[in-house]
């Protein structure tokens, strides 16, 4: 089981802040494709990956990164701290 978290407008578009999913996706790209195929809300949220960032186990990562051993994946827009 993997925890998938969504923040800011990604959370609003998908309509939930987090969910647990059973997946055999090998990379973040594969997971995005799997989620996008589920439902139009996901497809819309993931339609432009250049507008998204991903964190694996709370570390900023890349969309081609492997998911082997990863327990928590988070998708969000570019951060606006400060």
């Amino acid at each position: 089981m993997m925890d998938v978290l969504y923040f800011a407008w990604v959370r609003e578009r998908i309509g939930l802040p987090r969910e647990q999913i059973e997946t055999s996706a090998a990379t973040v790209h594969d997971l995005v494709a799997e989620l996008s195929a589920r439902d139009a809300r996901y497809a819309l949220a993931f339609s432009d990956l250049s507008a998204l960032r991903v964190a694996l186990d709370q570390e900023l990562s890349e969309f081609d990164a492997p998911l082997d051993g990863v327990r928590e994946v988070a998708f969000f827009p570019p951060m606006t701290g400060g």
Binding site: A55, Q58, L60, P78, M79, G81, G82
Partner: protein
């Protein structure tokens, strides 16, 4: 190093006084405070700041630790608020202490540049008419990281 992620207001004067008092071997303390800016149209009711609990603290500690090592700081402090803040409210502050002012100033700028685009916070402007807009990240904020 002190890193605090909180919803509560902080007392800038008290934090600065405490930070300076506990530091040893420094000749310079620099502080920066970020304030919720009123929208140009004057139609903003509040700024809502969302964070990624768990990742936020770790990301801020990493940024502060990198600054401490790079500029041999005597100490560094980061406070960042989240939740709903009114225009004019203090959002965040950084403080750096170094032997010389150049290092303290540079380290404070480094902290600010990385806080802007590497700390998991997202700002949303809540307008008086009920609309709400996510604040878009600026390319210039990402570009600012390349100088380090």
């Amino acid at each position: 190093m002190q890193v605090r992620v909180q919803t509560e207001e902080f007392d800038l004067g008290q934090v600065c006084a405490d930070f300076s008092a506990r530091v040893t071997g420094a000749g310079a303390v620099v502080t920066f405070t970020g304030i919720v800016r009123e929208a140009e149209a004057g139609d903003m009711l509040a700024m809502e700041i969302e964070q990624y609990p768990g990742m936020t603290q770790k990301a801020l500690e990493k940024i502060a630790q990198d600054a401490i090592e790079r500029w041999s700081l005597a100490d560094a402090l980061v406070i960042h608020r989240h939740g709903r803040l009114a225009p004019g409210a203090q959002i965040m502050m950084v403080a750096t202490a170094a032997r010389h002012r150049k290092d303290a100033f540079e380290a404070a700028e480094y902290l600010m540049d990385f806080l802007k685009s590497r700390a998991p916070f997202w700002k949303k402007e809540i307008l008086k008419d009920g609309r709400a807009d996510w604040v878009a990240a600026k390319d210039s904020d990402e570009d600012a990281l390349t100088r380090w």
